[in-house]
């Protein structure tokens, strides 16, 4: 059984159909790349899976359970976490605390215990801190761990976004344009951190315009065009197809 299954997903904004019946399956351990021209519905698809939008029609089935229409926090609790196209961080604090706060879902003690600072709570906080430090160093952010998150360079902020998503212990990580606006060196760092996430057994869905990087990292490629899925398969094979080249790269 597929880990995540989308059945005939449709999303309309007024008269505009952003997604016109998408069917797809994601299996455990895959790295699925989603490509397509701007406005083809890639981010909308991610929004629908993560609960930011509710689908107009169709079902999102995760581990055999219909999760379409659930709140984002419920979906995150079930193990689907996402990053954002924009750099959104907690601007009021430092990098390490950003990741620390993102460990929210590993909290077991309740607010009352936290208010009184009981022993289990303190132990849990120490464990969370260790986890946050671990994640920060995995993503090569150790030098910045005590720097304000808003002050980080663009590439580091995008990496931080992924680090925070990983802190929520996802089973499926949805990454929206991780390489946008990065230079060659930063691209390499981010691709390496994505490989590290995969090593932890996380399934990944990835939106990206940088075809070269997508080809190098993804095990499967899905092409969207005007809300339709026009191709789905091995990256090398998909990129050879004529309709994909037409839609995405244009023809002469």
């Amino acid at each position: 059984m597929a880990l995540l299954e989308l059945k005939n997903i449709k999303k309309a904004f007024g008269n505009v159909m952003a997604l016109e019946g998408i069917d797809l399956e994601v299996n455990k351990g895959e790295i699925v790349g989603i490509v397509g021209p701007n406005g083809s519905g890639k981010t909308t698809l991610l929004h629908v899976i993560s609960g930011y939008y509710h689908p107009t029609e169709g079902q999102v089935i995760y581990k055999g359970e219909n999760i379409s229409g659930l709140r984002p926090d419920k979906i995150a609790k079930k193990g689907i976490v996402r990053t954002f196209q924009q750099n959104i961080v907690y601007w009021d604090t430092v990098t390490l605390e950003n990741v620390f706060r993102a460990c929210y879902l590993s909290d077991k003690t309740n607010l009352w215990q936290s208010f009184w600072g009981t022993k289990p709570y303190v132990q849990e906080e120490m464990a969370k801190l260790a986890k946050a430090q671990d994640i920060v160093s995995t993503f090569g952010l150790s030098d910045y761990s005590m720097a304000m998150a808003v002050g980080l360079p663009h590439g580091k902020q995008r990496t931080l976004g992924m680090a925070m998503a990983l802190a929520a212990d996802p089973e499926i990580l949805l990454i929206d344009e991780p390489l946008a606006g990065m230079d060659a060196g930063e691209v390499e760092i981010v691709l390496n951190s994505i490989r590290k996430i995969v090593d932890k057994g996380v399934t990944i869905m990835l939106i990206e315009h940088n075809i070269k990087s997508v080809m190098s990292i993804c095990s499967r490629l899905i092409v969207l065009d005007f809300g339709h899925k026009i191709a789905d398969g091995k990256p090398v094979e998909v990129m050879k197809r004529k309709d994909v080249i037409e839609a995405y790269l244009g023809v002469e």
Binding site: R71, I88, W91, R101, Y104, L111, F115, M164
Partner: protein, 335 residues
């Protein structure tokens, strides 16, 4: 090394010294007028603490005075009609404000965005005032309800609140210290962290698994409880409750107190702002009647320009200013 140790403990020592001074103050300076100002300062400190807590959760409650009214009226009613002792009446007042806040919060805080909540609370404040003015059979309209001062028996000691204001002072002081500790502790604990996270970046917090509404409602309800208690206390202190006590201007006053004291400090800012503005307000009522709104308005504007984070920011900025002053002078001398 020894000095460093002392320096790290200095804030705590200062705080304890300050609390001792505050406790001893009315015993040394026996002035009824000063005492009454201090009690009002305490009431508004509670009010501003609650207001700041809601603000820090990313919401602007423009009808917070409404909860003060609920607390005050409920306390007055259960005291006069059902004969509740005053501490129980205060508790019931606070709880009923909390219940109303919970019911409103569950509905309104579901909607994302700042303005819906502000508009809804603004309306709530007005609605409560209108009900208080017009529901004659219960609230006695503009006449209000007179509440008799409580008489407390502790063993053989009888404290009659009608003859001395001192007990009020210590009760409000205890309440301020208690709730200041509570809000300080919340700010340091997980709840504070979550609330700050969702105020700073709601969307990302939601996608990291935080159910935003739950924590906003918790803070809003707690704040209403504190406000309700402040209202009930105020009613007992004035021995009267009526609609003018809790107008919408009071909520704006709380906002001004927080801006001037420091919106981003959970405890010190609101308390400092409340004490300063209440004191200035009372002075102006005597000497500059009518000019109060103008002076306060100008003050807020000046603060937003010079000290946007309020008076608590002085501890950072003052040394810098002094340094800058000397630098400029030496530069001029060199020329």
């Amino acid at each position: 090394m020894e000095f460093a140790k002392f320096k790290s403990k200095l804030p705590l020592i200062l705080l304890i010294a300050f609390i001792i001074i505050v406790i001893a103050f009315p015993l040394v300076i026996r002035d009824r007028f000063v005492l009454s100002i201090l009690i009002e300062c305490g009431v508004y400190a509670l009010f501003a603490l609650a207001f700041a807590a809601v603000f820090r959760s990313g919401q602007l409650s423009l009808g917070q005075a409404g909860f003060m009214a609920i607390g005050g009226y409920v306390a007055a009613l259960v005291a006069t009609k059902a004969g509740f002792p005053f501490w129980l009446a205060m508790l019931v007042g606070g709880l009923s404000a909390a219940v109303i806040a919970f019911l409103i919060g569950v509905v309104v805080l579901r909607i994302k965005g700042l303005f819906y909540f502000s508009i809804a609370t603004l309306a709530l404040g007005e609605i409560i005032t209108i009900i208080a003015k017009n529901w004659d059979s219960v609230t006695s309209g503009m006449t209000g309800i007179a509440v008799s001062a409580p008489v407390v028996n502790i063993g053989s000691i009888v404290i009659n609140f009608a003859t001395t204001k001192l007990p009020y002072y210590y009760i409000v002081l205890a309440l301020v210290i208690l709730f200041a500790l509570v809000f300080w502790r919340i700010d340091r604990s997980r709840l504070g962290r979550i609330v700050r996270s969702q105020a700073v970046a709601p969307v990302i917090s939601e996608h990291l698994g935080i159910y935003l509404m739950k924590y906003k409602v918790i803070i809003f309800t707690l704040a209403a409880f504190v406000t309700g208690i402040a209202g009930a206390f105020y009613v007992y202190y004035l021995s009267w409750v009526g609609p003018p006590l809790f107008s919408g201007a009071q909520s704006m006053g709380a906002l001004m107190m927080c801006v001037i004291g420091g919106l981003w400090s959970p405890v010190a800012g609101p308390i400092i702002g409340a004490v300063l503005l209440t004191y200035l307000g009372t002075l102006m009522q005597i000497h500059l009647e009518g000019l109060r709104p103008l002076v306060f308005g100008v003050m807020v504007i000046l603060f937003l320009f010079v000290l946007p984070n309020g008076l608590v920011e002085l501890q950072v900025k003052l040394p810098l200013w002094i340094k800058g002053l000397f630098k400029n002078k030496s530069a001029v001398a060199k020329q």
